[in-house]
């Protein structure tokens, strides 16, 4: 008996170690692997009104319980969780048009669409209440519930749920991997990666920043004392920083993926900065950027995550910031040499990003860090280092995360919060329409934001 207990304990330790290792060190593991066996029981298995389908947030429970209603937009019609409509949009006008342009009979039967617009597990892993038309449902992110729903219902606690297979979405790295598996995609999986072919057929551009997108999803959790007790504290700046590191790793993976190598004189354009090409001919906007070193009229790889990560690194690991800057310069320059050089430099950037991912996920972001990061992000814009639309978009979302973190950490008075939120609104306005985006307007909004930072 005693022996048996030790085995169980060792087993638990082994699992715990394994999970920690996977998340903290490697973080490259396919988030689907933990979920590769269990059945997906369907949204209906979660949305009972005693479970996650309550009409109002529950006061006495550890979670809000109205998660289903938030996701399905029944809690607040104005706050749309697009995951809920992910399948439905495949059949609307735009979805139909994209399918037509891609030569598909329809989008709802095409793997290339379903793999991100639904919880597209194989038939054998769909429980009786599973509905593909539920779109990106609970288990698409939280993992197939077959193995953990029992433990979960029995009130075993969050750790036990995780051990049983619940996906640790509360951990920034795990969340980043999960979100990015669609919001950037898996470059090695042709059915889970939005190429420029799909964009050209009509797919919208895909902006992403982990912390901002968590908030605007809208989040169906509240970081309350009960939450922190069970899942640990949340620092929006860390979520942002981890998201940037992993986004950059994934972007480099996409460059390294042989399927994305240029075909003839047509490179995989989705790797490039959208607005590098997609701006009106009449808009004279080029100006030198010391972080690319590229001349006018060149196409530019999307590098807004790298620029943000450089700001983060300057705070967390200054030597790494310099190395990242140099590798990015070399990567941009490589596009004027040949694809082999691009691939070689992408490997270097990827290595630098992985190292930073580790430093960032272990870093304790202080109040001074937050201010330094805000100033760093602002400096990028004010020194014309990057005022491209893509850079402005990432900078705005970054500053949003920083304000969130400052507010949550109690560093801001209600008045200061209001002033900063107003400044954020100004920033958001300056980037609202990428067709008419003007760097000068964004820089002005940045200056206003800078003034709003409490000293």
């Amino acid at each position: 008996m005693k022996g048996e207990g030790s085995v169980v304990k060792l087993h638990e330790i082994a699992i715990a170690t394994f999970v920690t290792l996977m998340l903290a060190i490697a973080a490259r593991a396919d988030p689907q692997t933990q979920d590769s066996e269990s059945k997906h029981l369907g949204v209906k298995s979660c949305s009972g009104d005693n479970c996650h389908g309550a009409v109002k947030p529950a006061d006495h429970s550890a979670v809000m319980q109205n998660e289903y209603l938030i996701w399905s937009q029944e809690a607040d019609k104005d706050r749309v969780d697009k995951h809920h409509r992910a399948y439905a949009v495949l059949s609307d006008e735009r979805g139909t048009r994209i399918a037509h342009n891609l030569g598909l009979p329809d989008a709802v039967t095409a793997e290339i669409c379903l793999n991100c617009h639904a919880d597209n597990v194989p038939e054998a892993r769909r429980g009786p209440r599973f509905e593909i038309s539920d779109g990106v449902g609970c288990e698409a992110c939280h993992g197939g519930a077959e193995k953990w729903l029992g433990v979960h219902l029995s009130g075993a606690g969050h750790k036990a749920n995780l051990h049983a297979g619940l996906y640790p979405t509360e951990k920034p790295i795990a969340r980043a991997e999960k979100c990015l598996s669609c919001h950037f995609g898996d470059p090695s999986d042709k059915n889970r990666f939005v190429t420029h072919l799909i964009m050209g057929a009509g797919h919208p551009r895909m902006g992403f920043e982990l912390d901002t997108y968590t908030a605007v999803e809208p989040a169906h959790f509240k970081v309350s004392p009960k939450y922190i007790e069970r899942k640990g504290p949340v620092n929006d700046v860390q979520v942002w920083a981890v998201g940037q590191a992993i986004s950059l790793v994934r972007r480099m993976d996409a460059i390294l993926e042989p399927k994305n190598a240029p075909k003839g004189i047509q490179p995989e354009l989705v790797l490039f900065d959208c607005q590098s090409c997609h701006h009106a001919v009449s808009q004279i906007r080029w100006q030198p950027r010391k972080s690319t070193g590229l001349g006018p009229g060149s196409l530019q790889l999307y590098d807004a995550n790298a620029v943000m990560l450089r700001v983060i690194a300057a705070c967390v690991a200054p030597t790494a910031a310099k190395a990242l800057h140099e590798h990015m310069l070399a990567l941009h320059h490589a596009t004027t040499i040949n694809w082999d050089t691009v691939v070689r430099e992408a490997k270097e950037v990827r290595r630098a990003a992985i190292e930073l991912e580790n430093s960032v996920s272990g870093h304790d972001f202080t109040r001074d860090d937050m201010k330094a990061l805000a100033e760093g992000v602002i400096a990028i814009g004010l020194t014309d280092d990057d005022t491209d639309g893509s850079g402005a978009e990432q900078a705005t979302m970054a500053l949003g995360s920083i304000v969130s973190a400052m507010r949550m950490s109690g560093y801001l008075s209600p008045e200061q919060t209001k002033v900063m939120n107003d400044a954020l609104i100004g920033l958001n306005k300056s980037i609202a329409d990428d067709a008419t985006y003007q760097p000068a307007t964004f820089v002005m909004a940045l200056k206003d934001f800078q003034e709003a930072i409490p000293q």
Partner: protein
């Protein structure tokens, strides 16, 4: 003495004629060889005397208008070509290119002035005159004397005046800047220059002749001296030579890909430069998948319309090689070059035929139908096609007007339809093919059947 001079004149004429014919190039392709310009450039001041081309108003008694200088100086962008180098945009482009001064940079001066070397500039020559008389008509030292003395046009030509009245020669001259010479870094606008702020460069020979504005009037005296002008022919030849030059740019080693991208200026601007929130029809004309970058092929599409009527076999070949060229862009640069050679060969073979063809009313009807048909495929019309289609139809309107076969009402209706057509693609940023197609159909309704 007199006999000697005449004989020499005749020899000169023969020489000039021989120099300016469609010669067989070494690779067996016909090539237009305009006469060389060996004269000293005497400067705009040498032409602008008020008894010569500097009259304040059109002269009634003379064989030419005589107010050419004033038209050029008042309304023609060529006149401002040098000045703009020093203006805000020019300064910005220079700065973006790392140049101290656009007005001192060969890569700008090559087309923004009459860029002859100092040894070939006469005492009254001013670089700041921009694209002056002799930039197009040739250095006047060898012909100004006989020109002033009232020599006939053919004699002026024989002495070295450039034959701008001949469509193929005019096309070569205009396109030597309006596309440029891809082998000459001082006479070719790359995408780097575009990115630095240089405007896009649309061109269509007949339309651009008209809007320059032309400083000649085609009247009886003009046709007596220089032959008849048919706007449709000018348009058609312009398309062939334009295409020939574009293909030449694809073949030119200097424009081969450096790094990941080829010379981007060879592509269709709006293929990339469109707001990405606008869903647009991709069009069957390229055969390429959505999201691909398309080589500029609007001239080829126009030439195909022309050839479909006049040389159906060439039209078929052109169509298949243009599709192959677009497809090749997804294969390799070498394949692109093979196909560009083929398209260039076809364009080259069509040029002389177009120069000698007598364009009939039925031809014109067929061209209108062919252009309008581009909008009826249901697949949409790209901006670059719309632009060339409209300018092509404008040339047809000019030709029809000149023919004198139309009533005033018909002319009014066509002009109105033409304005509608231009209005439908006025901005490449807001261009949508539906209004353009609607305007095309409206145009067809007004075109004489």
């Amino acid at each position: 003495m007199l006999g000697g001079v005449t004989k020499r004149g005749a020899l000169h004429r023969l020489g000039a004629a021989a120099a300016f014919t469609f010669m067989l190039a070494t690779d067996g392709q016909a090539e237009v060889q305009p006469p060389g310009d060996n004269g000293i450039h005497l400067g705009v001041a040498s032409c602008a005397g008020n008894n010569c081309h500097g009259a304040t108003e059109r002269s009634e008694g003379s064989s030419v208008a005589q107010n050419e200088y004033l038209i050029w100086a008042k309304s023609d962008k060529h006149h401002r070509a040098y000045t703009v180098l020093l203006e805000e945009r020019g300064t910005r482009i220079a700065r973006n290119l790392g140049l101290a001064n656009a007005a001192a940079a060969d890569m700008c001066l090559g087309c923004h002035t009459d860029p002859v070397p100092p040894a070939k500039r006469g005492p009254r020559f001013q670089l700041s005159d921009g694209v002056g008389c002799e930039a197009c008509h040739g250095g006047a030292s060898s012909w100004l004397g006989i020109h002033i003395s009232g020599a006939r046009h053919s004699e002026n030509l024989a002495a070295g005046l450039y034959p701008t009245e001949q469509p193929a020669a005019r096309a070569e001259k205009c396109l030597s800047c309006h596309i440029g010479d891809p082998a000459d870094d001082n006479r070719f606008v790359t995408h780097r220059m575009m990115g630095a702020g240089h405007p896009r460069m649309p061109f269509e020979l007949d339309t651009y002749t008209a809007v320059e504005p032309a400083h000649f009037v085609v009247d009886q005296r003009y046709t007596d001296r220089k032959g008849a002008v048919n706007d449709v022919q000018v348009w058609a030849i312009g398309q062939a030579i334009d295409l020939y030059r574009r293909m030449g740019a694809l073949i030119e080693p200097k424009r081969a890909p450096k790094g990941v991208f080829p010379e981007i200026v060879l592509f269709d601007c709006q293929s990339c430069h469109h707001p990405y929130n606008s869903l647009r029809g991709e069009g069957v004309t390229t055969g390429l998948a959505p999201g691909s970058v398309k080589l500029y092929d609007a001239n080829a599409i126009m030439l195909h319309v022309i050839a479909a009527r006049l040389a159906p076999a060439s039209a078929k070949a052109l169509s298949s090689h243009i599709l192959a060229l677009q497809r090749a862009s997804g294969e390799s640069w070498a394949t692109v070059q093979v196909e560009a050679h083929e398209v260039r060969r076809l364009a080259s073979a069509l040029s002389p035929m177009l120069s000698s063809h007598d364009f009939t009313r039925d031809d014109i009807k067929a061209f209108v139908d062919g252009i309008v048909a581009l909008g009826l495929t249901g697949e949409g019309v790209r901006y670059s096609e719309a632009e060339q289609a409209a300018m092509g139809l404008a040339s047809i309107v000019s030709a029809v007007k000149s023919s004198g076969n139309l009533s005033a009402d018909q002319i009014t209706a066509m002009t109105k339809a033409m304005n509608g057509l231009y209005g439908s693609f006025a901005s490449d940023e807001t261009y949508r093919h539906d209004p353009f197609v609607k305007a095309l159909k409206e145009f067809r309704r007004t075109a004489p059947r």
